[in-house]
Symmetry: C2
Subunit: 408 residues, 2 copies
């Protein structure tokens, strides 16, 4: 809670005073530990809006995780071509690292044929994750045990199209044209060694629409992500970043990355009234407060009962099933909405690109997911249709490249 | 040019001084002729960013046209069900008008099951257009002559999927979640009377990324839309809005709406060097200046020749083919980018949702399109894959409904 208050002062308070952009810059740079960058970016933001803001690419951890999420994101999953060998993978990573470092600074990549599209970084980040296939091809035996497909859950209706991949690029910025350009540049430099497996784009509230630290709503209308560890805190580091003593050593400073594509059955959700929705989630639809509380951040009282003796928060309510007293079972989630053209006869083709970051997928993510898959009222209206797990290697210094620790 | 300077003062100058949001609010309200709204919105924007900004729904003309375009847009084309009769269409329009009036104010629609998603208008507009099918069903003989499919052009590779429709909704806002929610609400209220024909979503630079009046670049990297009539000017009114004496009378205060889905062959475009690109367009890639000038807004000198006697702007360059000395052959264009997941083996699935507004499609749009279809170097890298024409009826007052003049 202290962390939350500190964040509120850093961001919410300043935003309420009308200088949200500057405060948010401060937060990003704070998370990355670069005060001078914060000052320069804040000055640029004050003059020109959000376009010139940058997030440092180099560092102990990769960028794009410990920060207030950008408004737009594209996840690009690539399959290595059969003849792409270890050396080719290394050259690929060197090239893509160089592209990402330049683009995230707001400068164009080498051989960028539309260089002017690169000049609005808008907090662009590019984050790399490795699938089991890539790790096995570079360094057999080096994959952590959790780096493989998740076990099948009875609720899953996975389409092969949306699963897996050898290399994932998480490309995110507050400007959709910036994301589109960066994606194209990175794909052009990947095409000799890879093919595209899937691309999942998503959006959140636009920059400037709301206070950047406000918990956003998903397309169910639900306040989503209240219980989440907070970037810039020791708690966050403990949940997300892999320590120096964890095995394998090449992943120290990295993390585990789970991608779940979750379809929302909005036409069915429509037939549920407001009370039914609140019972399913265990929170009020208006405020996001638990049914036993008044404010979004109030702790749910799972023991509370109604006058007739039933639990106020139902046994199968989402927040009860998601919650645990085991402090290890926590993840950092970062979810985006998708909303595609409806199929014939439907009024929606919508859902969520759920992603979570945790240093150990088996110990942290799986138990939560198992509980939710077993009984969670929300399962009636949400269907997992894609699933993938990646290892996110640590960041690199200037002159290095992402993934270099895997090659040593 | 005087208009352009005036716009520069109104917007560019103020934006450079760091109050872009406020200036842009002033512009929107200026276009709609509501000074008090401008003040209220500007105050809201100064405190809370872009989320609370609203564009008035009611008025002589429909909203969503005479304004600085929003960052996100969804065009939804609907087909009337076979048994949807005149009275049902009228009830549909009354319902959708009410939804649109509420949502664009930042309040929820009646029966909105996710009302909290409606509270961030972010300059939301909903604009209605009627296809030939709707007009014929409501008032046979009332359609203007130009309200039908465009003639076939040799460059077209139209997919039936992306063509036509009986009723189009142009839903646009600076926030993608706002667009998604409004679209869903409007589709829910349309589903008894219509089916979805197509949905085309698109994006421009995010709000706050650039000065709002800056000419944006498309995914070819091209400065696109330099020559465009300017909202808020008499010139704009002459190009776009139908006069009181034009036939049919029910369209007075409305306009004609052309939608063209244009695929960009980015993989092929990549193989063209910078000089080749500049020759194709007739403008410099960096500044957007004509090849005979220095600044974007310089008038091209089509008579200029190189020392060896060739024209500096090639005979088949896009800007030469698009240009005319006939003052009637002008339109207001409002283009959005699309960038979908690449097909297998490709690195892009990208292009533009081109839309133009003109009071007479035959007299204004067709001659330009014919010249471009005949010979335009850019045709090598762009392919029309969808086409539709709609009549945009005038706006309505509170208590009225969009399309009411068609029913009298």
């Amino acid at each position: 809670m202290a962390d939350r208050s500190r964040r509120a002062v850093l961001l919410g308070g300043a935003a309420a005073a009308g200088v949200g952009a500057v405060a948010a810059v401060g937060m990003d740079a704070f998370a990355a530990g670069r005060a001078s960058d914060a000052r320069a970016a804040a000055e640029a933001a004050a003059v020109s809006g959000n376009g010139p803001r940058t997030i440092p690419f180099h560092g102990e951890h990769q960028a794009g995780i410990e920060m207030v999420p950008q408004a737009h994101q594209s996840l690009v999953s690539l399959s290595l071509k059969p003849d792409t060998d270890r050396d080719t993978i290394r050259r690929l990573l060197i090239t893509l690292t160089d592209d990402a470092a330049r683009l995230t600074r707001g400068t164009y990549a080498l051989a960028d044929s539309e260089p002017e599209l690169a000049l609005v970084p808008a907090r662009l980040t590019v984050t790399f994750g490795f699938g089991r296939g890539l790790v096995d091809r570079v360094a057999p035996g080096a994959a952590p045990a959790w780096l493989s497909d998740l076990p099948a859950f009875p609720i899953d209706r996975l389409h092969q199209w949306w699963n897996g991949g050898d290399l994932v690029l998480q490309i995110a910025a507050d400007d959709p044209l910036t994301v589109a350009h960066a994606q194209r540049m990175l794909l052009k430099d990947s095409r000799t060694a890879t093919t595209v497996k899937w691309v999942q784009t998503g959006f959140r509230r636009a920059y400037g629409s709301e206070r950047p630290t406000r918990t956003t709503r998903n397309l169910l209308g639900q306040v989503d992500g209240t219980v989440n560890t907070i970037p810039g805190t020791d708690d966050f580091a403990g949940v997300v970043w892999r320590g120096a003593t964890e095995n394998p050593a090449w992943l120290a400073g990295g993390t585990g990355f789970v991608v779940r594509r979750i379809e929302m059955l909005l036409d069915k959700w429509d037939r549920l009234d407001r009370t039914g929705r609140e019972q399913s989630v265990g929170r009020r639809m208006d405020s996001g407060a638990p049914l036993t509380g008044r404010r979004e951040t109030d702790e749910p009282d799972f023991a509370a009962t109604s006058p007739s003796g039933f639990p106020v928060i139902a046994e199968f309510a989402h927040i009860r099933r998601a919650r645990t007293d085991d402090p290890r079972q926590r993840v950092f989630r970062r979810a985006y909405n998708y909303d595609l053209a409806p199929e014939v006869g439907q009024t929606s083709n919508s859902g969520m690109v759920f992603t979570s970051y945790q240093h150990d997928v088996t110990a942290q993510f799986l138990p939560i997911q198992r509980r939710l898959a077993e009984v969670d009222l929300l399962n009636e209206w949400t269907v997992p249709i894609g699933s993938a797990v990646f290892a996110i290697p640590p960041g690199c210094a200037e002159g290095g490249h992402i993934g270099e620790t895997l090659f040593t």
